[in-house]
Symmetry: C2
Subunit: 218 residues, 2 copies
Protein backbone atom coordinates (compact mmCIF):
# COMPACT_ATOMS: atom_id res chain seq x y z
CA UNK A 1 0.00 0.00 0.00
CA UNK A 2 2.52 2.54 -1.23
CA UNK A 3 2.14 4.78 -4.29
CA UNK A 4 0.72 1.99 -6.48
CA UNK A 5 -1.95 1.14 -3.94
CA UNK A 6 -2.81 4.80 -3.49
CA UNK A 7 -3.14 5.19 -7.26
CA UNK A 8 -5.46 2.17 -7.48
CA UNK A 9 -7.53 3.63 -4.65
CA UNK A 10 -7.72 7.01 -6.38
CA UNK A 11 -8.96 5.36 -9.57
CA UNK A 12 -11.60 3.34 -7.73
CA UNK A 13 -12.71 6.45 -5.89
CA UNK A 14 -12.88 8.51 -9.07
CA UNK A 15 -15.02 5.83 -10.70
CA UNK A 16 -17.38 5.71 -7.74
CA UNK A 17 -17.72 9.49 -7.53
CA UNK A 18 -18.35 9.71 -11.29
CA UNK A 19 -21.18 7.22 -10.72
CA UNK A 20 -22.70 9.64 -8.23
CA UNK A 21 -21.68 7.80 -5.07
CA UNK A 22 -20.34 9.40 -1.92
CA UNK A 23 -16.87 8.09 -1.07
CA UNK A 24 -15.52 7.79 2.47
CA UNK A 25 -11.78 7.12 2.43
CA UNK A 26 -10.97 4.94 5.43
CA UNK A 27 -7.40 6.24 5.46
CA UNK A 28 -7.07 6.72 9.24
CA UNK A 29 -4.71 9.66 8.77
CA UNK A 30 -3.19 11.54 11.69
CA UNK A 31 -0.17 13.78 11.30
CA UNK A 32 0.98 17.28 12.14
CA UNK A 33 1.73 20.62 10.51
CA UNK A 34 2.49 20.61 6.82
CA UNK A 35 1.93 16.84 6.50
CA UNK A 36 -1.57 17.12 7.98
CA UNK A 37 -2.32 19.97 5.59
CA UNK A 38 -1.08 17.91 2.64
CA UNK A 39 -3.26 14.93 3.60
CA UNK A 40 -6.32 17.14 4.05
CA UNK A 41 -5.66 18.76 0.67
CA UNK A 42 -5.16 15.43 -1.11
CA UNK A 43 -8.27 13.79 0.31
CA UNK A 44 -10.78 16.62 0.59
CA UNK A 45 -9.69 19.62 -1.45
CA UNK A 46 -8.61 20.76 -4.86
CA UNK A 47 -10.33 20.34 -8.20
CA UNK A 48 -10.65 16.60 -7.80
CA UNK A 49 -10.60 15.59 -4.15
CA UNK A 50 -10.08 11.85 -3.69
CA UNK A 51 -13.06 11.49 -1.38
CA UNK A 52 -16.09 13.16 0.15
CA UNK A 53 -14.99 12.25 3.65
CA UNK A 54 -11.96 10.69 5.30
CA UNK A 55 -11.31 8.83 8.56
CA UNK A 56 -8.72 10.32 10.92
CA UNK A 57 -6.88 9.23 14.06
CA UNK A 58 -7.25 11.36 17.23
CA UNK A 59 -4.00 10.41 19.02
CA UNK A 60 -2.21 13.61 17.98
CA UNK A 61 -5.00 15.90 19.15
CA UNK A 62 -6.98 18.78 17.79
CA UNK A 63 -4.25 20.76 16.03
CA UNK A 64 -3.36 17.69 13.96
CA UNK A 65 -6.95 17.50 12.69
CA UNK A 66 -7.55 21.21 12.21
CA UNK A 67 -6.53 21.11 8.50
CA UNK A 68 -9.25 18.49 7.91
CA UNK A 69 -11.82 20.59 9.77
CA UNK A 70 -10.77 23.57 7.65
CA UNK A 71 -11.29 21.52 4.49
CA UNK A 72 -14.78 20.56 5.72
CA UNK A 73 -15.57 24.21 6.37
CA UNK A 74 -14.39 25.35 2.94
CA UNK A 75 -15.51 22.46 0.75
CA UNK A 76 -18.32 20.70 2.58
CA UNK A 77 -16.38 17.46 3.07
CA UNK A 78 -16.55 15.29 6.15
CA UNK A 79 -14.27 13.71 8.70
CA UNK A 80 -14.86 10.57 10.76
CA UNK A 81 -12.61 10.39 13.78
CA UNK A 82 -11.66 6.98 15.16
CA UNK A 83 -13.22 6.68 18.61
CA UNK A 84 -13.80 2.99 19.44
CA UNK A 85 -12.48 0.69 16.76
CA UNK A 86 -13.91 -2.70 15.82
CA UNK A 87 -10.69 -4.72 16.17
CA UNK A 88 -9.95 -6.80 19.24
CA UNK A 89 -6.75 -4.97 20.21
CA UNK A 90 -8.46 -1.58 20.15
CA UNK A 91 -8.99 -1.85 23.89
CA UNK A 92 -5.22 -1.71 24.61
CA UNK A 93 -5.41 2.07 24.45
CA UNK A 94 -9.09 2.95 23.95
CA UNK A 95 -10.38 1.09 27.02
CA UNK A 96 -7.86 2.45 29.50
CA UNK A 97 -9.60 3.63 32.69
CA UNK A 98 -9.28 7.36 33.37
CA UNK A 99 -9.12 9.22 36.65
CA UNK A 100 -12.72 10.42 36.10
CA UNK A 101 -13.89 6.79 36.07
CA UNK A 102 -14.59 6.72 32.32
CA UNK A 103 -12.69 5.06 29.51
CA UNK A 104 -10.31 6.76 27.12
CA UNK A 105 -12.58 6.30 24.09
CA UNK A 106 -15.36 8.13 25.94
CA UNK A 107 -12.98 11.05 26.51
CA UNK A 108 -12.14 10.98 22.80
CA UNK A 109 -15.86 10.90 21.97
CA UNK A 110 -16.33 14.08 24.03
CA UNK A 111 -13.40 15.71 22.24
CA UNK A 112 -14.90 14.80 18.87
CA UNK A 113 -18.23 16.33 19.91
CA UNK A 114 -16.38 19.51 20.91
CA UNK A 115 -14.27 19.61 17.72
CA UNK A 116 -17.42 19.24 15.64
CA UNK A 117 -19.39 22.03 17.31
CA UNK A 118 -18.26 24.66 14.80
CA UNK A 119 -19.24 22.47 11.89
CA UNK A 120 -22.91 21.80 12.45
CA UNK A 121 -24.97 22.14 9.28
CA UNK A 122 -28.53 23.19 8.63
CA UNK A 123 -29.93 19.77 9.53
CA UNK A 124 -28.24 19.71 12.92
CA UNK A 125 -25.48 17.27 12.04
CA UNK A 126 -21.77 18.02 12.29
CA UNK A 127 -19.22 17.44 9.53
CA UNK A 128 -17.14 15.73 12.21
CA UNK A 129 -18.36 12.18 12.69
CA UNK A 130 -17.04 9.26 14.67
CA UNK A 131 -16.02 5.67 13.96
CA UNK A 132 -17.45 3.22 16.49
CA UNK A 133 -17.11 -0.52 15.93
CA UNK A 134 -20.46 -2.28 15.68
CA UNK A 135 -18.72 -5.20 17.38
CA UNK A 136 -19.12 -3.21 20.63
CA UNK A 137 -22.89 -2.86 20.78
CA UNK A 138 -23.00 -1.16 24.19
CA UNK A 139 -20.42 1.37 23.06
CA UNK A 140 -22.60 2.19 20.05
CA UNK A 141 -25.41 3.31 22.35
CA UNK A 142 -23.06 5.25 24.63
CA UNK A 143 -21.38 6.94 21.67
CA UNK A 144 -24.78 7.97 20.36
CA UNK A 145 -25.39 9.82 23.65
CA UNK A 146 -21.93 11.40 23.80
CA UNK A 147 -22.09 12.50 20.17
CA UNK A 148 -25.63 13.74 19.53
CA UNK A 149 -24.60 15.78 16.46
CA UNK A 150 -22.20 13.32 14.86
CA UNK A 151 -22.84 10.79 12.16
CA UNK A 152 -21.55 7.47 13.45
CA UNK A 153 -19.65 5.30 11.00
CA UNK A 154 -20.16 1.72 12.15
CA UNK A 155 -17.87 -0.97 10.75
CA UNK A 156 -17.97 -4.55 11.95
CA UNK A 157 -21.32 -5.80 10.66
CA UNK A 158 -20.87 -8.93 8.56
CA UNK A 159 -17.39 -10.43 8.28
CA UNK A 160 -16.36 -9.10 11.71
CA UNK A 161 -19.40 -10.63 13.38
CA UNK A 162 -21.73 -7.80 14.43
CA UNK A 163 -25.43 -8.01 13.56
CA UNK A 164 -27.96 -5.35 12.52
CA UNK A 165 -29.33 -5.44 16.08
CA UNK A 166 -25.93 -4.34 17.39
CA UNK A 167 -26.13 -1.02 15.57
CA UNK A 168 -29.78 -0.24 16.25
CA UNK A 169 -28.99 2.18 19.09
CA UNK A 170 -26.97 4.38 16.75
CA UNK A 171 -30.16 5.46 15.00
CA UNK A 172 -32.05 6.85 17.97
CA UNK A 173 -31.71 10.47 16.91
CA UNK A 174 -32.73 9.88 13.30
CA UNK A 175 -31.86 7.66 10.36
CA UNK A 176 -29.23 9.98 8.89
CA UNK A 177 -27.21 9.79 12.05
CA UNK A 178 -25.39 6.55 11.31
CA UNK A 179 -23.72 4.76 8.41
CA UNK A 180 -23.19 1.03 8.56
CA UNK A 181 -20.09 -0.06 6.67
CA UNK A 182 -19.99 -3.66 5.45
CA UNK A 183 -17.47 -4.69 2.84
CA UNK A 184 -16.34 -8.29 2.76
CA UNK A 185 -19.73 -9.78 3.62
CA UNK A 186 -21.21 -7.91 0.65
CA UNK A 187 -18.50 -8.00 -2.01
CA UNK A 188 -17.56 -11.65 -1.48
CA UNK A 189 -21.11 -13.00 -1.05
CA UNK A 190 -21.05 -14.39 -4.59
CA UNK A 191 -18.34 -16.88 -3.63
CA UNK A 192 -20.73 -18.98 -1.58
CA UNK A 193 -23.80 -18.41 -3.75
CA UNK A 194 -22.04 -19.05 -7.08
CA UNK A 195 -23.93 -16.13 -8.68
CA UNK A 196 -22.57 -13.28 -10.74
CA UNK A 197 -20.80 -11.01 -8.24
CA UNK A 198 -22.92 -7.99 -9.15
CA UNK A 199 -26.15 -9.85 -8.51
CA UNK A 200 -24.81 -11.28 -5.25
CA UNK A 201 -23.46 -7.97 -3.96
CA UNK A 202 -26.61 -6.05 -4.87
CA UNK A 203 -28.81 -8.61 -3.14
CA UNK A 204 -26.64 -8.82 -0.01
CA UNK A 205 -26.44 -5.03 0.28
CA UNK A 206 -30.20 -4.67 -0.14
CA UNK A 207 -30.85 -7.38 2.43
CA UNK A 208 -28.48 -5.82 4.97
CA UNK A 209 -30.07 -2.43 4.40
CA UNK A 210 -33.57 -3.69 5.06
CA UNK A 211 -32.43 -5.66 8.12
CA UNK A 212 -30.80 -2.54 9.56
CA UNK A 213 -33.81 -0.34 8.87
CA UNK A 214 -36.00 -2.94 10.54
CA UNK A 215 -33.70 -3.26 13.57
CA UNK A 216 -33.41 0.52 13.92
CA UNK A 217 -37.17 0.85 14.18
CA UNK A 218 -37.54 3.37 11.35
Amino acid sequence: LGADGMRAFEHASEYARAAGLLVIADAKRGDIGSTARAYAAAYLEGEKPVADAVTVNPYLGRDSLEPFFGACRRHGGGVFCLVKTSNEGGGDVQDVRLSDGGLLWQHVARLVAEWGEDLIGEHGLSSVGAVVGATHSRAVGEARKLLPRSILLLPGVGAQGASPGDVARAFTSGPASALVAASRSVIYGFRSSGEDWRTGAARDAARLKSEIWAASGW
Copy 2:
Protein backbone atom coordinates in the same frame (compact mmCIF):
# COMPACT_ATOMS: atom_id res chain seq x y z
CA LEU B 1 -0.21 13.73 -0.33
CA GLY B 2 -2.02 11.11 -2.38
CA ALA B 3 -0.44 8.76 -4.93
CA ASP B 4 1.77 11.48 -6.45
CA GLY B 5 3.17 12.45 -3.06
CA MET B 6 3.75 8.82 -2.17
CA ARG B 7 5.59 8.29 -5.46
CA ALA B 8 7.83 11.31 -4.81
CA PHE B 9 8.54 9.99 -1.33
CA GLU B 10 9.39 6.53 -2.69
CA HIS B 11 11.84 8.08 -5.16
CA ALA B 12 13.52 10.18 -2.47
CA SER B 13 13.75 7.16 -0.22
CA GLU B 14 15.18 4.97 -2.97
CA TYR B 15 17.82 7.61 -3.68
CA ALA B 16 18.77 7.85 -0.02
CA ARG B 17 18.95 4.09 0.45
CA ALA B 18 21.07 3.73 -2.70
CA ALA B 19 23.45 6.26 -1.11
CA GLY B 20 23.78 3.95 1.88
CA LEU B 21 21.56 5.91 4.26
CA LEU B 22 19.04 4.41 6.64
CA VAL B 23 15.54 5.73 5.94
CA ILE B 24 12.85 6.15 8.59
CA ALA B 25 9.46 6.79 7.00
CA ASP B 26 7.52 9.07 9.32
CA ALA B 27 4.24 7.76 7.93
CA LYS B 28 2.38 7.42 11.26
CA ARG B 29 0.39 4.45 9.98
CA GLY B 30 -2.20 2.68 12.07
CA ASP B 31 -4.82 0.39 10.57
CA ILE B 32 -6.24 -3.09 11.00
CA GLY B 33 -6.27 -6.49 9.34
CA SER B 34 -5.46 -6.63 5.66
CA THR B 35 -4.78 -2.87 5.45
CA ALA B 36 -2.20 -3.06 8.25
CA ARG B 37 -0.56 -6.00 6.49
CA ALA B 38 -0.47 -4.06 3.21
CA TYR B 39 1.15 -1.02 4.87
CA ALA B 40 3.74 -3.19 6.62
CA ALA B 41 4.51 -4.95 3.34
CA ALA B 42 4.81 -1.69 1.39
CA TYR B 43 7.08 0.02 3.88
CA LEU B 44 9.24 -2.77 5.27
CA GLU B 45 9.05 -5.85 3.09
CA GLY B 46 9.46 -7.14 -0.42
CA GLU B 47 12.41 -6.83 -2.77
CA LYS B 48 12.57 -3.07 -2.42
CA PRO B 49 11.03 -1.92 0.85
CA VAL B 50 10.39 1.82 0.91
CA ALA B 51 12.16 2.30 4.22
CA ASP B 52 14.29 0.71 6.92
CA ALA B 53 11.84 1.74 9.62
CA VAL B 54 8.42 3.35 9.83
CA THR B 55 6.51 5.31 12.46
CA VAL B 56 3.16 3.90 13.59
CA ASN B 57 0.20 5.09 15.67
CA PRO B 58 -0.78 3.09 18.78
CA TYR B 59 -4.46 4.08 19.04
CA LEU B 60 -5.71 0.82 17.48
CA GLY B 61 -3.66 -1.40 19.78
CA ARG B 62 -1.31 -4.31 19.46
CA ASP B 63 -3.10 -6.38 16.82
CA SER B 64 -3.04 -3.40 14.46
CA LEU B 65 0.76 -3.23 14.76
CA GLU B 66 1.48 -6.95 14.71
CA PRO B 67 2.07 -7.00 10.91
CA PHE B 68 4.81 -4.38 11.39
CA PHE B 69 6.38 -6.38 14.21
CA GLY B 70 6.26 -9.45 11.97
CA ALA B 71 8.06 -7.52 9.23
CA CYS B 72 10.74 -6.47 11.75
CA ARG B 73 11.16 -10.10 12.79
CA ARG B 74 11.49 -11.37 9.23
CA HIS B 75 13.43 -8.57 7.59
CA GLY B 76 15.24 -6.71 10.35
CA GLY B 77 13.31 -3.48 9.86
CA GLY B 78 12.22 -1.19 12.65
CA VAL B 79 9.11 0.48 13.98
CA PHE B 80 8.82 3.69 15.98
CA CYS B 81 5.53 3.97 17.80
CA LEU B 82 4.13 7.42 18.55
CA VAL B 83 4.13 7.87 22.32
CA LYS B 84 4.35 11.59 23.17
CA THR B 85 4.27 13.78 20.09
CA SER B 86 5.99 17.14 19.70
CA ASN B 87 2.92 19.14 18.62
CA GLU B 88 1.01 21.32 21.03
CA GLY B 89 -2.33 19.50 20.66
CA GLY B 90 -0.76 16.14 21.44
CA GLY B 91 -1.82 16.55 25.06
CA ASP B 92 -5.55 16.41 24.18
CA VAL B 93 -5.35 12.63 24.25
CA GLN B 94 -1.79 11.77 25.33
CA ASP B 95 -1.86 13.74 28.59
CA VAL B 96 -5.18 12.46 29.88
CA ARG B 97 -4.93 11.43 33.54
CA LEU B 98 -5.52 7.72 34.18
CA SER B 99 -7.04 5.98 37.17
CA ASP B 100 -3.54 4.79 38.19
CA GLY B 101 -2.42 8.42 38.49
CA GLY B 102 -0.24 8.36 35.38
CA LEU B 103 -0.81 9.90 31.97
CA LEU B 104 -2.01 8.08 28.87
CA TRP B 105 1.30 8.45 27.03
CA GLN B 106 3.06 6.71 29.93
CA HIS B 107 0.64 3.80 29.59
CA VAL B 108 1.39 3.72 25.86
CA ALA B 109 5.13 3.79 26.62
CA ARG B 110 4.69 0.70 28.81
CA LEU B 111 2.73 -1.02 26.04
CA VAL B 112 5.50 -0.23 23.56
CA ALA B 113 8.09 -1.69 25.93
CA GLU B 114 5.97 -4.84 26.20
CA TRP B 115 5.35 -5.07 22.44
CA GLY B 116 9.07 -4.77 21.81
CA GLU B 117 10.16 -7.48 24.25
CA ASP B 118 10.15 -10.22 21.60
CA LEU B 119 12.25 -8.13 19.26
CA ILE B 120 15.37 -7.40 21.26
CA GLY B 121 18.54 -7.85 19.22
CA GLU B 122 22.06 -8.89 20.14
CA HIS B 123 22.99 -5.43 21.41
CA GLY B 124 20.06 -5.26 23.79
CA LEU B 125 17.92 -2.88 21.76
CA SER B 126 14.43 -3.64 20.51
CA SER B 127 13.25 -3.18 16.92
CA VAL B 128 10.26 -1.39 18.44
CA GLY B 129 11.21 2.18 19.24
CA ALA B 130 9.21 5.17 20.40
CA VAL B 131 8.61 8.72 19.19
CA VAL B 132 8.90 11.27 21.99
CA GLY B 133 8.85 14.98 21.20
CA ALA B 134 12.02 16.76 22.28
CA THR B 135 9.76 19.73 23.00
CA HIS B 136 8.77 17.87 26.20
CA SER B 137 12.15 17.55 27.89
CA ARG B 138 10.82 15.99 31.12
CA ALA B 139 8.92 13.39 29.12
CA VAL B 140 12.13 12.47 27.30
CA GLY B 141 13.75 11.47 30.59
CA GLU B 142 10.65 9.60 31.79
CA ALA B 143 10.31 7.79 28.47
CA ARG B 144 13.95 6.72 28.71
CA LYS B 145 13.14 5.01 32.03
CA LEU B 146 9.90 3.42 30.80
CA LEU B 147 11.54 2.17 27.60
CA PRO B 148 15.01 0.94 28.52
CA ARG B 149 15.32 -1.22 25.38
CA SER B 150 13.81 1.15 22.84
CA ILE B 151 15.52 3.59 20.54
CA LEU B 152 13.84 6.94 21.07
CA LEU B 153 13.14 9.01 17.97
CA LEU B 154 13.16 12.63 19.09
CA PRO B 155 11.67 15.24 16.77
CA GLY B 156 11.30 18.86 17.77
CA VAL B 157 14.89 20.10 17.92
CA GLY B 158 15.38 23.13 15.70
CA ALA B 159 12.34 24.58 13.96
CA GLN B 160 9.97 23.39 16.71
CA GLY B 161 12.08 25.00 19.42
CA ALA B 162 13.75 22.24 21.45
CA SER B 163 17.48 22.44 22.17
CA PRO B 164 20.19 19.75 22.37
CA GLY B 165 19.98 20.00 26.16
CA ASP B 166 16.32 18.92 26.01
CA VAL B 167 17.22 15.54 24.56
CA ALA B 168 20.27 14.80 26.71
CA ARG B 169 18.35 12.49 29.06
CA ALA B 170 17.46 10.19 26.19
CA PHE B 171 21.07 9.05 25.94
CA THR B 172 21.57 7.77 29.46
CA SER B 173 21.67 4.12 28.47
CA GLY B 174 24.08 4.59 25.58
CA PRO B 175 24.50 6.71 22.47
CA ALA B 176 22.69 4.30 20.14
CA SER B 177 19.56 4.60 22.20
CA ALA B 178 18.23 7.80 20.66
CA LEU B 179 17.92 9.47 17.27
CA VAL B 180 17.41 13.20 17.04
CA ALA B 181 15.36 14.18 14.00
CA ALA B 182 15.82 17.73 12.72
CA SER B 183 14.60 18.64 9.27
CA ARG B 184 13.63 22.22 8.58
CA SER B 185 16.39 23.77 10.70
CA VAL B 186 18.94 21.80 8.68
CA ILE B 187 17.57 21.76 5.14
CA TYR B 188 16.54 25.42 5.11
CA GLY B 189 19.61 26.80 6.90
CA PHE B 190 21.03 28.05 3.59
CA ARG B 191 18.19 30.55 3.26
CA SER B 192 19.54 32.74 6.02
CA SER B 193 23.23 32.11 5.34
CA GLY B 194 23.02 32.59 1.56
CA GLU B 195 25.37 29.64 0.99
CA ASP B 196 24.96 26.71 -1.34
CA TRP B 197 22.28 24.53 0.29
CA ARG B 198 24.55 21.50 0.47
CA THR B 199 27.25 23.39 2.32
CA GLY B 200 24.71 24.94 4.67
CA ALA B 201 22.90 21.68 5.42
CA ALA B 202 26.13 19.74 5.97
CA ARG B 203 27.44 22.39 8.35
CA ASP B 204 24.18 22.70 10.30
CA ALA B 205 23.84 18.93 10.61
CA ALA B 206 27.43 18.58 11.81
CA ARG B 207 26.99 21.40 14.31
CA LEU B 208 23.77 19.93 15.70
CA LYS B 209 25.41 16.52 15.96
CA SER B 210 28.35 17.83 17.95
CA GLU B 211 26.08 19.91 20.20
CA ILE B 212 23.96 16.84 20.96
CA TRP B 213 26.97 14.63 21.65
CA ALA B 214 28.31 17.31 23.97
CA ALA B 215 24.97 17.73 25.77
CA SER B 216 24.52 13.98 26.10
CA GLY B 217 27.83 13.68 27.91
CA TRP B 218 29.32 11.04 25.59
